[in-house]
């Protein structure tokens, strides 16, 4: 029974309320009426839907980059390094992610900014004359997002690679397959469930991230969550904010559903 209370009061009901609020609009008389005006606003203002599309594409890019960067690490840890170091490398890998995201972002800020540590070294080495601003652009923001989400990709990858029997690779090698063929025909299909569950979580976290784009992104790298925040806190237009929130929810559900469909997976299995 408490489970029902938890799920209905804290999950289902608030999201129904979100949807209902998004359909209410204050008309010229100052009365609240049912209307699609909040959604109309979204499509009418270029900055809203452009941000929306950009954030979706960037999140896909971040998910892909995270996979490309962490896969070799997962492979190295599970298949190449000797068992002696394996545990140690995994602990080392997990350690930074126990620390708050804010601390990690702050670390990057003091490394990258104009008066930051990297600029100090570059100047001391005489490589540059005056400091370069490396923070506050799309590249630094994407790097920050990848850094923040790596853990959620590498853990499922390690566990699915761990379950893979080395003899598959050996057999393929003995039959004359090249490394590239082995990689695409054996390793990738075998780890597909791990890749899918990692990607879902990374995508969702990137899409819903607020801190990293806000602190590391520039003036032009507005994130959709920042739009929602602005509607709620700055403009105090909760109905507009609710519409944005609902759109973001639809987007994340849709892309996750698409990813599952394309790889023929099922949500309950992919997440547990």
């Amino acid at each position: 029974m408490p489970i029902f209370l938890w799920l209905f009061l804290l999950i289902v009901l608030p999201h129904i309320e979100l949807f209902l609020m998004s359909l209410k609009y204050e008309n010229d008389m100052g009365d609240m009426v049912w209307s699609l005006q909040n959604y109309g606003e979204f499509f009418a203002e270029e900055i809203y839907w452009l941000t929306f599309i950009r954030v979706a594409l960037y999140s896909i890019l971040v998910t892909f980059l995270t996979f490309v960067i962490t896969f070799p690490i997962a492979f190295y840890i599970t298949k190449i390094v000797s068992v002696k170091y394996k545990g140690f490398l995994i602990i080392l890998l997990l350690m930074p992610f126990w620390v708050s995201e804010l601390v990690r972002v702050y670390g990057w800020m003091i490394l990258l900014r104009e008066s930051g540590v990297i600029n100090y070294f570059l100047q001391a080495l005489g490589l540059i004359d005056k400091p370069i601003e490396m923070l506050y652009n799309d590249v630094s923001m994407i790097m920050g997002l990848v850094y923040t989400s790596m853990l959620f990709m590498v853990v499922p990858l390690i566990s699915s690679l761990d379950g893979m029997d080395d003899s598959y690779i050996e057999a393929a090698h003995d039959l004359g397959a090249s490394k590239i063929v082995i990689f695409f025909k054996i390793v990738i299909p075998y780890t597909a469930p791990g890749i899918v569950s990692g990607s879902i979580v990374v995508f969702m976290l990137t899409l819903g991230n607020y801190l990293t784009p806000n602190l590391m992104g520039g003036k032009n790298s507005l994130w959709f969550t920042e739009q929602i925040y602005n509607q709620f806190i700055a403009s105090f237009n909760w109905n507009q904010g609710a519409a944005f929130g609902f759109l973001l929810l639809i987007l994340s559900s849709f892309i996750i559903w698409l990813g599952l469909k394309l790889t023929k997976q099922n949500l309950t299995k992919a997440l547990s």
Partner: protein, 286 residues
Amino acid sequence: MIKSLPKSKFYDNGFKIYVVLFYIFLFSPLVITCILAFNDSDFPTLPWNGFSLDWFFSDTEQRVGLFSDSANLKSIWVSIQTAFFVSIFSLVIGTMGAFLFEQEDFRFKQGLYFLALSPLVIPGVILGISLLLATNSAGTFVEENFGFDFSILRPSFWLVVLGQFAFISTFVLLVVSARLKKFDKSLEEAALNLGASRFDVIRLITLPFLRPALIGAGAVAFLMSFENFNTTMFLIGSDTTLPINLYLQVRDGSTPIINAISFLLIISTSILAIINLIFTKKENSR
């Protein structure tokens, strides 16, 4: 390609270099943050002006160290309290959920299970605004119909606890479920046959079996709550939690006091992580 196959030197070394670079990438922001907490400077950057504990202990006009900064200390305390309540509540509900979905069968089980996992794919910001909207409407409703202000429904300490609890329970549920799957039900049956009461069985058989999972889930719940930003941001009242407080300071220009806080966070979470790790290893090898 793997240990048992012939490999080229080039491939092997290339891999090693990549791994080393990756770990440098992983640790550089944290290491630099820690080091600069001890720099004798007014800004969190190089050059190195010598070792100093000012940003922890000093209490002068120019430099207010962490232990004299009441706003930061208070937010740490608020975060600890929040995390404490959230982990207790989510442990109870998450464990109950794990039992429900692992051991019972009922109509709509699939649907309900899907719902229980849904917080994993709902962005935290959305959960935050949904709860804000719903509790606000409920609060207004209560006030208009019963004429009193139900303070838990306004942005406040307890609303933050409620919001974090809503999604952290799911993580507890997953961790406990995983352990419960390995549980041999015949142990419970044997105890029941031998005359133990239902309550005794849970206390003496089931809970001890689940202990490592409960401790692990509790630690994860505590940390997740302690660090949560996205959901908390919308539900916060006057009691600012540490992540929100830090965020405001970082955004509006920073002093090395943030490095000092970060240093303490890094050290304490690492210790917690290591304890948790040793503990689970011990339990597993038994």
